[in-house]
Symmetry: C2
Subunit: 206 residues, 2 copies
Amino acid sequence: MSFSDKLKLYVITDSRFGSEVDQVKQALEGGATSIQLRLKNVSTRYFLDTAKSLRKLTTDYDALFFVNDRLDIAIASNADGVHVGMDDMPVEHVKEIAPNLIVGSSAYNIAEANYGINAGADYLGVGAVYSTNTKLDARYLGVDGLRNISKSVNLPIVAIGGISHQNCEDVLNCDIQGLAVISAILNSEDIVNSSKEMRNIIDKYI
Amino acid sequence: MSFSDKLKLYVITDSRFGSEVDQVKQALEGGATSIQLRLKNVSTRYFLDTAKSLRKLTTDYDALFFVNDRLDIAIASNADGVHVGMDDMPVEHVKEIAPNLIVGSSAYNIAEANYGINAGADYLGVGAVYSTNTKLDARYLGVDGLRNISKSVNLPIVAIGGISHQNCEDVLNCDIQGLAVISAILNSEDIVNSSKEMRNIIDKYI
Ligand code: NI
């Protein structure tokens, strides 16, 4: 699988849904190709220990491992990359400090996408595509907004925000390289199976 | 001033006492020789922007600049060092990732001091010396506990925890290299003057 192929099913952890290790083990078993560890309000030591566990799991499954926001944790856990948003460390700094890390940059519009591209990002996290319960205040683009961005940029795009088994084919029709999901997979009775089902849909398109 | 001399008046920021930049400008004007930026529950972008401002100020005053906990912020702001506790990144990781940074390690007892020393720390933050209002749950050593540790280690020691103008001479008699203060300086009507007064006391001993 190429780098871009490994973005196809990108699962972001959420501590509301229990242990990160359990979440990730099941998501990988079901076919997740990338994992992003997102943790807030925990100690650096706990964050790092969790990251090291997920690094091991993702290596076993040949998946990519990203850390949200925290470059220090990404470096110390030997992650493949770090994902940063507009409130996080600027992409330029990340690239300067850790040139070998894959850097993902969040974008809501073409201006933010271009910022990421010019700063050296390796992929864009574009969204929210749909209104989402995960971040209640998130602005959303709709599939037309997503398609406008994917038309104008060449960098791999991972679509994010409110993506479910029901709506993901509309998203996959937007010429994007991956789907980032939280609730659709982690907030399900059977994480392995919900990952498998989404992966099967994705494999028809990407 | 040698490295160890620059630890003599070590001021740690506290957002309860207003803008970090204002706090630090006045503390430096009064004679602080080291500044540690400590921030919790803020975005990485805000943390980094604040760190860059303090880096400029500390350079102007020829003081050392440390970041609490966050190695990513320390590297990106070009800080002199990072200070880590037992809940933060292990000293070994910090030294491996950023061998040029000064690393301070917190120690409450001789076992923790030896951990820091063996892991490659450059100085120890030892305390709490006194019971403190800053961390209500902090254990405290007393001056006898502090003296026991300072006798048994050769690394520079910055004493921390409840140190005030009233009690600091007792601490300075413990064969330590610096005093770390928060409230005694930052929670005063005139930060410049309270720094000056403490610096004058310290200069009689160190
Ligand atoms: Ni495209």
